[in-house]
């Protein structure tokens, strides 16, 4: 008798916990460490500022729709950091087709992103984790 009572209590507790807590789909700790949507927007703005000032690669952005690029970057960084967003842009291969980017260009972009994150006060641990999540895109971006 007492065991069945306990089992019932536990089942009830488990059920109420499930109802109380929203489903944890993915680890969003990086998203939170970047300061959520607001923080990521600041990162993207500082990143684009660094790119515009970067003579090595700014020519690749001539004629680009910066407003749309900014919007898609915010979505992408939000999604890869585990935030509640969905990236709705083209694949990395599609968006870089014909640009014939080199590893040197890609590294310049990495440095500009690091500069951007440092300029808005992102911690080194969050900076390194975001770089680690974006780096695998290298193969889809260079020599397209």
């Amino acid at each position: 008798m007492p065991t069945s009572f306990m089992r019932q209590t536990l089942r009830c507790a488990a059920l109420s916990l499930l109802l109380l807590c929203p489903p944890v789909s993915a680890d969003d700790s990086l998203y939170r460490d970047l300061g959520g949507k607001e923080g990521i927007t600041a990162v993207v703005d500082a990143f684009l500022q660094a790119v515009i000032e970067d003579e090595r690669i700014v020519h690749h952005f001539k004629g680009a729709n910066i407003t749309r690029l900014r919007e898609k970057l915010i979505e992408q960084f939000c999604e890869v950091s585990g935030g509640p967003c969905e990236y709705t842009g083209e694949t990395m291969e599609e968006s870089h087709r014909g640009m014939n980017l080199t590893t040197g260009d890609f590294n310049a972009l990495v440095e500009d992103l690091q500069t951007g994150m440092r300029n808005v006060g992102i911690s080194l641990s969050a900076e390194n984790r975001l770089i680690a999540r974006l780096a695998p895109m290298h193969g889809d971006i260079v020599h397209q």
């Binding site: 080199t102 590893t103 040197g104 590294n107 080194l124 390194n128 770089i131 780096a135």
Partner: protein, 285 residues
């Protein structure tokens, strides 16, 4: 006599040329610190281990270059080493290094050696591929003075080391910091990296030696780590032990970097427990 002083002169001139010619090499396509330091035998690596990395900051289609000066100061000896490396396409590397090995307490001339190195990247990328960056290299070494090695029983004044190195950076790999791991296999019969000649009375055959470095990028401009280098033991008069070091490397810019290490070099030419400071400065383009 004339020949080895000209090699030394060449090493000095190339090093000075690289150190003063920032404009000529405006590549800088690599991320900071991914050029490596210049290892003690010349070429890109840690302090005592060659890595699969290629010297300088050039990437695809770009040149790169580096010049270095290293001092290793232990109880009974001091080694001064300097030279330069040139690279192309982040694939090919040529290097030259000169060694002056001072036997402090003995009234003998410095032991001297030149090292000519070549390395080629065979596969992978340090950061961007799943497989490590893999390179193969050789180091042709020649003692320009041979009295001390001959006295200790060395068989030859010259030798060729061949090696394969695999190096990989794990982004945010440990404590959310980037981690470098390197493993190198070397075929050699050099005594104390060649400073005491090649081959000996105990053994005069090539052996395969394992070398390794690890590094943790604690700050965007600072890497700390440790190295291990297995060594042959060919001379009964001068037992030889494996080398180890603990290092910190600082990369304030892509053009200048310094490394300070505590090196534990074991027994050298009959003197045990040789330990001390290993300091290196590198100019890079």
């Amino acid at each position: 006599m004339r020949r080895h002083s000209s090699v030394r002169c060449l090493a000095v001139s190339l090093a000075l040329l690289v150190a003063t010619s920032a404009q000529a090499f405006d590549s800088q396509g690599k991320l900071i610190a991914t050029s490596g330091m210049t290892m003690v035998e010349g070429g890109s690596g840690g302090g005592i281990v060659p890595w699969a990395t290629i010297a300088g900051y050039g990437t695809e289609g770009q040149p790169g270059a580096s010049a270095y000066y290293t001092v290793v100061d232990v109880q009974d000896y001091r080694l001064d080493s300097y030279g330069a490396s040139f690279s192309w396409d982040n694939r090919y590397e040529l290097s030259i290094a000169h060694h002056e090995f001072d036997l402090k307490d003995l009234p003998l001339e410095d032991q001297q050696q030149n090292v000519f190195g070549a390395k080629v990247r065979l596969a992978g990328d340090l950061i961007y591929t799943d497989i490590p960056q893999i390179s193969a290299g050789l180091q042709y070494k020649r003692n320009t003075r041979f009295a001390v090695p001959r006295l200790l029983g060395a068989r030859s004044r010259e030798g060729v080391d061949l090696y394969v190195a695999a190096t990989k950076v794990f982004l945010a790999g440990l404590f959310d910091r980037h981690v470098l791991v390197n493993g190198t296999i070397r075929r050699t019969k050099a005594n104390q990296i060649g400073l005491l000649g090649f081959g000996g009375n105990k053994r005069d055959k090539h052996e395969y030696m394992f070398e390794s470095s690890v590094g943790l990028m604690v700050r965007p401009d600072v890497v700390i780590g440790a190295e291990f280098r297995e060594k042959p033991d060919n001379l009964s008069a001068a037992p030889e032990q494996h080398w180890r070091d603990f290092y910190a490397a600082w990369f304030p810019t892509k053009h200048v970097s310094v490394l300070a290490a505590y090196a534990k070099l074991g027994s050298i030419a009959g003197e045990d427990h040789q330990e001390g400071l290993f300091a290196s400065i590198q100019f890079t383009y």
